[in-house]
């Protein structure tokens, strides 16, 4: 069981991801669209880590917020002809937050399987709605013709994805900042308490339920923003942002990186998406096989994910005073 300290100073290792992102931008200009995709999923993974790793809520329905944010951003453009990127982003965040607080308030009274089922049912319903409401969402054809104005009037979303990459990077930075502050605050400490021993938290009078709803809503908002970013970089939304699959994917990415570690959310998507980009194209059957086996191996032998492994092998990186969750 890890201790928790209020040391909020940023360790030098925490700047590495941003340096790496910068290097990526300059060294690999042809892969920027993949890079933007990775950044978006890191943001998504962060939002999931908030409730999974820190609050202990297992969900298979997080794609609901991601997808809702994605579609909102798109629909704002196609139906309301509002192409200003920040407005689209804000709209997506607001709608996702709304769904987050609405569903959270209702379903967070349940636990375990019931909760899991409810999250799944919600994303399934959204998928069904998106599928049927062709006039709004494009249905199975997807929502095309989404327009995004140049950011601040200058930076156009170009084919190479330069603008998209930097845009997502900044969004990710802000999201990371928010999440990090949250985790290192008394609020974060309480989340850890809820995760580790709910009964005792109730006993000491902590408003468990409302805190959970709050963190769930925050997580939903961030996921919604990530979804909107996806729509804006592609100028397109398809049905595959909703349903079981993206939820499962992001869960796998997070586990791979390491749950409850903040940076697991960074490493997981990077490894997963790069591997997928290369392997899935060459050997689609073997891709599933490989990723499945890897997952099983991780669960059985490396419960802390990649970061957990790094802990064992590279004590140098071990954070002594950090709000790290021990793996279950």
């Amino acid at each position: 069981m890890s201790g928790y300290s209020a040391d909020t100073r940023i360790r030098w290792t925490e700047w590495l991801p941003w340096v790496a992102a910068g290097a990526f931008f300059f060294l690999l200009p042809e892969y920027l669209s993949l890079g933007a995709r990775i950044l978006i999923f890191i943001l998504f993974a962060l939002s999931l880590d908030l409730i999974l790793g820190y609050a202990g809520i297992i969900t298979l329905g997080h794609s609901a917020f991601f997808g809702l944010g994605a579609y909102t951003a798109g629909i704002v453009s196609t139906q309301l002809a509002i192409n200003e990127p920040f407005v689209q982003l804000a709209a997506a965040a607001a709608v996702a937050a709304l769904l987050g607080v609405a569903t959270g308030a209702v379903i967070l009274r349940t636990r375990a399987l019931t909760l899991l089922m409810l999250t799944l049912a919600i994303t399934a319903i959204l998928l069904e709605v998106a599928n049927k409401a062709t006039w709004l969402t494009g249905g199975a054809d997807g929502l095309s013709g989404v327009k995004v104005d140049p950011i601040l009037g200058f930076f156009r979303f170009d084919l190479y994805g330069k603008t998209a990459f930097l845009y997502c990077l900044i969004a990710l930075f802000l999201g990371w900042w928010v999440v990090r502050r949250l985790i290192y605050s008394p609020f974060g400490a309480m989340l850890t308490g809820i995760r580790e021993n709910t009964t005792r938290m109730h006993a000491i009078g902590a408003p468990v339920y409302w805190r959970l709803v709050l963190v769930y809503t925050i997580s939903a908002t961030i996921a919604g923003i990530a979804g909107a970013l996806l729509t804006q970089t592609n100028q397109f939304v398809g049905l595959n942002v909703l349903g079981l699959e993206p939820s499962g994917d992001i869960l796998v990415m997070l586990i791979l990186g390491g749950v409850g570690r903040l940076y697991g959310a960074f490493i997981g998507p990077v490894v997963y998406l790069i591997a997928q980009d290369y392997l899935a194209k060459q050997y689609p059957e073997y891709w599933y096989f490989g990723i499945g086996t890897l997952l099983i191996a991780v669960v059985l032998f490396a419960p802390g994910g990649i970061l957990g492994l790094m802990d064992k092998w590279l004590p140098f990186f071990k954070q002594k005073s950090s709000a790290r969750a021990s793996a279950r």
Partner: protein
């Protein structure tokens, strides 16, 4: 009805072992493939192929249980969920490698094809047969659980494992047998349903939601629960698609949410 046969095994497994086996669809898929291969490749007649599906999947599940699942009993739900996702992915890849992209072709024996007249309306023979067969399975299960000693042991272990163990019940072996039974039933269900729910490599993920719904709504650990749930869902789904095609599966999900909120432990589940 297929849903029931497949899901009852899941309900028992989850209720008994507290293990969220999302990979249950894998066993169903395996059953479907075994049936198809047995009939197409080896010319095995339909009823025998069904038996083969049941037996082979049961045996296979025992192997999996011993090697992999048993390590995860003590671990948290998250690990179990992830393990199952991993298992699903691996099995999907294997299925694709062996069977390619196509659905397993199923050629029903002639006596099961066509239509049959029941109460003045035409019904597809096969579906009538399915209802009939599933009812027999339910009956056997019910008798098995309610009336036999083994059933009593299972129920005891579900209710209170510690007590059951101290009374001398070998829970480990019980789990293994029950898991095998549950998985075998899944295989049987998959095989039976192969004509209606085509069996192909994406099967475990595609139908996962439905299996889970049946189990969650029915209630963990109960036998009647999934039956009622599957019945309700099946009827609601078909009726909805018949009367209001525009709503489709929407109703099923909405109903699930409503039921789960009203009774989080499911219709017949045991409140812990």
């Amino acid at each position: 009805m297929i849903l029931y046969v497949i899901s009852v095994g899941l309900s028992v497994t989850m209720g008994l072992m507290g293990f969220i086996n999302l990979a249950h669809g894998v066993f169903a898929m395996a059953g479907g493939f075994i049936l198809s291969t047995a009939m197409a490749r080896f010319g095995v007649p339909f009823p025998l192929a069904l038996v083969a599906a049941f037996v082979l999947v049961s045996l296979g599940s025992i192997f999996l249980e011993k090697t992999l699942y048993s390590r995860l009993y003590a671990r948290g739900e998250l690990s179990q969920v992830l393990f199952c996702i991993g298992l699903i992915l691996v099995s999907m890849a294997v299925a694709r490698l062996i069977y390619g992209n196509l659905a397993a072709p199923v050629f029903l024996p002639d006596y099961l094809r066509g239509q049959v007249q029941v109460l003045g309306r035409d019904f597809p023979t096969y579906r009538v047969y399915l209802i009939f067969f599933s009812s027999i399975i339910i009956l056997s299960l019910w008798i098995g659980v309610e009336r036999t000693r083994w059933g009593a042991m299972v129920r005891a272990a579900v209710d209170n494992r510690g007590m059951a163990q101290s009374v001398g019940i070998n829970t480990k072996r019980l789990f293994m047998i029950t898991f095998a039974l549950g998985s075998g039933l899944a295989g049987l269900g998959g095989a039976l349903g192969a004509d209606i729910l085509p069996v192909q490599w994406g099967y475990p993920f595609e139908h996962l939601v439905y299996f889970l719904i049946v189990v969650a709504v029915g209630g963990l650990g109960s036998l009647r629960g999934p039956f009622v749930a599957a019945l309700l869902i099946g009827i609601a789904d078909t009726a909805c698609k018949y009367w209001i095609p525009a709503l489709g599966a929407f109703l099923v999900y909405a109903a699930t949410i409503a039921i789960l909120l009203w009774r989080p432990q499911g219709l017949f589940g045991v409140r812990t």
